[in-house]
């Protein structure tokens, strides 16, 4: 047994977007144990949502839980509030929500992929992916009015309509994007240098993934077919618009890249289906009721299953709001999957988890 060293990474580090602290115990460059510390950005949103903000305002506040998947948070909250109010939202609003969630998934997955490339030391691929990602930001701006923080879902429906010209431009841009995506797929799949860094790094087995409760692309890369879009039909009709489960088997960084890239094809198809078959109806259901009772909602955010619980007591202010973000489920597996890897590949592995700590800490 060699000497063991403790190497900390974070809370501020170039490869980290957010404050996150890992303490690695290493032995001859190999990581033997990891400690994760994620609660740097706890702000107390849940408490504020139950005391300071009225229930209609909360959908804007929970969007600020996370900037990468803000539409998932606003939509999940709107759905849980609609359950408490016992209203059904118009069909068009459902489809528009799905449209924005999928556009958001494209931008989030591409960001994660570019980050993996950067942390593996492949700066040129980072630039390329960021360049190709820019189209999704422009489309989101055209649809929602802002590049990030869309505030698109509100309680009872959606805030904006999709204009026909915008719909047309989305289809055109997606058509242009598909060859670019093929190109990215080719690089991430076949580039020899990148594969040295990514293949076999940060691997987790299917049994471990099951045992440690992993969700999202992290689980699907290990062969675990879990996706909320596959399970729930009552709130958003995912299967109708062409959802398809993507899984890989090896569970390493490479497999996670592949899952994300292949999910982009599914997202593109879903968006095209939504735009081609968008039903005509109102955008919002008005109601004067107050939230009452308890409800839970699950939704597939780009990083996995997002869970909302809310309890109302017939007043403007909710009694309790609980948010369980996807990364929270993954933290245990994140610490586990480092074991046995070189310390040098740790940044790439961290990026491939796609951790979202402001979701986790709220």
């Amino acid at each position: 047994m060699g000497r063991q060293y403790e190497i900390p990474i974070g809370a501020q580090h170039i490869s980290l977007l957010e404050p996150l602290h890992f303490k690695f115990t290493t032995e001859n460059e190999k990581i033997v144990a990891t400690e994760a510390n994620v609660y740097y950005v706890h702000r107390g949103i849940e408490q504020a949502c139950c005391s300071k903000f009225k229930f209609r305002q909360v959908s804007f506040v929970v969007g600020r839980v996370c900037g990468l998947c803000s539409i998932s948070h606003t939509t999940a909250y709107s759905q849980v509030a609609e359950k408490l109010l016992k209203i059904e939202i118009p069909l068009r609003a459902k489809y528009l929500r799905m449209l924005v969630i999928e556009l958001d998934r494209i931008h989030s997955h591409l960001l994660c992929l570019s980050h993996v490339a950067e942390n593996s030391g492949f700066e040129a691929l980072f630039m390329k992916t960021m360049q190709y990602r820019e189209f999704s930001m422009e489309l989101l701006e055209a649809v929602c009015g802002n590049r990030i923080q869309y505030d698109f879902s509100i309680v009872g429906g959606v805030a904006r309509d999709l204009k026909p010209q915008v719909a047309q431009s989305i289809l055109e841009r997606l058509k242009k994007f598909i060859p670019q995506l093929d190109e990215l797929m080719d690089i991430y799949k076949n580039n020899w240098t990148l594969s040295l860094k990514n293949k076999g790094a940060g691997a987790i087995t299917k049994e471990d993934a099951m045992r440690l409760n992993v969700v999202g692309p992290f689980a699907r890369a290990a062969g675990l077919a879990i996706d909320v879009r596959n399970e729930t039909e009552d709130l958003l009709p995912w299967k109708e618009v062409g959802f398809e489960m993507i899984t890989e088997t090896s569970g390493d960084v490479y497999a996670r890249n592949m899952v994300r890239l292949r999910e982009l094809y599914v997202s593109i198809r879903i968006i095209e289906n939504i735009i081609n078959g968008l039903p005509e109806s109102a955008l919002i259901t008005e109601t004067k009721a107050f939230p009452d009772g308890e409800a839970t909602v699950r939704l597939e955010a780009p990083r996995g299953e997002l869970f909302y619980y809310a309890k109302g007591n017939k007043t403007q202010i909710l009694e309790r709001l609980k948010i369980k973000a996807p990364t929270f489920s993954n933290v245990a597996a994140m610490a586990e999957a480092f074991t046995g890897n070189e310390y040098g590949s740790a940044p790439a592995i961290i990026a491939s988890y796609d951790p979202c700590l402001s979701c986790t800490a709220r």
Binding site: A11, Q12, H13, I14, S15, L17, E18, P19, Y39, Y40, V41, H42, R43, G44, I45, Q47, A48, K52, F60, V61, R64, V65, C66, G67, L68, S70, L111, S114, M127, K128, M130, Q131, R133, E134, M137, N146, R147, I148, Q149, C356, S358
Partner: protein
């Protein structure tokens, strides 16, 4: 060429998230990407506070990250400029008054440029950073002035001429 002139041409950026929602952080990342490309101003993102000149802060400063923020600020060498990105870094924004947050970065460290918006647009961030460049230049000059003061006698009234101050004091003491 001395250090100051290099600094003007190529300021290095340090980015710290003090508890924001990542929204502004990904816009900073988008700035580094090819479309907005702040590298044309010579800026690159560095992870080391000791090498950086501009500190980009996002987020409303949670209680746990404030020590790290102050530490990072203290580790940066002079002259340094702080740019607070986003509504929540400027004033606390939507998080103001939540129990684990403070209202903005400027309660802990001096902020030179405020960039508004929730989330900020990349154009705004670039604008803020370019303003910060101007401030960095001023600060560099201000640092040089104090050295020059000791070398040259001052002509204007009311100011102390430091060069001969010892000669003036000496007779008074003896």
């Amino acid at each position: 060429m001395n250090l100051a002139s290099y600094r003007k041409k190529s300021p290095w950026i340090l980015h710290y998230n003090a508890g924001g929602c990542n929204g502004c952080d990904i816009e900073i990342l988008a700035c580094l990407g090819p479309k907005y490309d702040i590298e044309r101003f010579g800026m690159i993102n560095t992870g080391n506070p000791k090498q950086s000149d501009i500190l980009l802060v996002t987020g409303p400063v949670t209680k746990r990250s404030r020590e790290r923020l102050v530490e990072i600020y203290a580790q940066m060498p002079e002259p340094k400029v702080v740019v607070s990105c986003g509504a929540c870094a400027c004033t606390g924004g939507v998080f103001r008054g939540m129990y684990n947050c403070e209202g903005g970065v400027d309660q802990y460290i001096p902020v030179d440029v405020y960039v508004c918006g929730c989330g900020t647009r990349p154009e705004q961030i670039i604008d803020g950073v370019v303003q910060a460049l101007g401030i960095l230049e001023q600060k560099t000059k201000a640092m040089e002035v104090s050295v020059r003061l000791q070398k040259e006698p001052l002509k204007e009234e009311g100011q102390i001429n430091r060069r001969n101050i010892a000669d003036q004091i000496k007779p008074a003491l003896s």
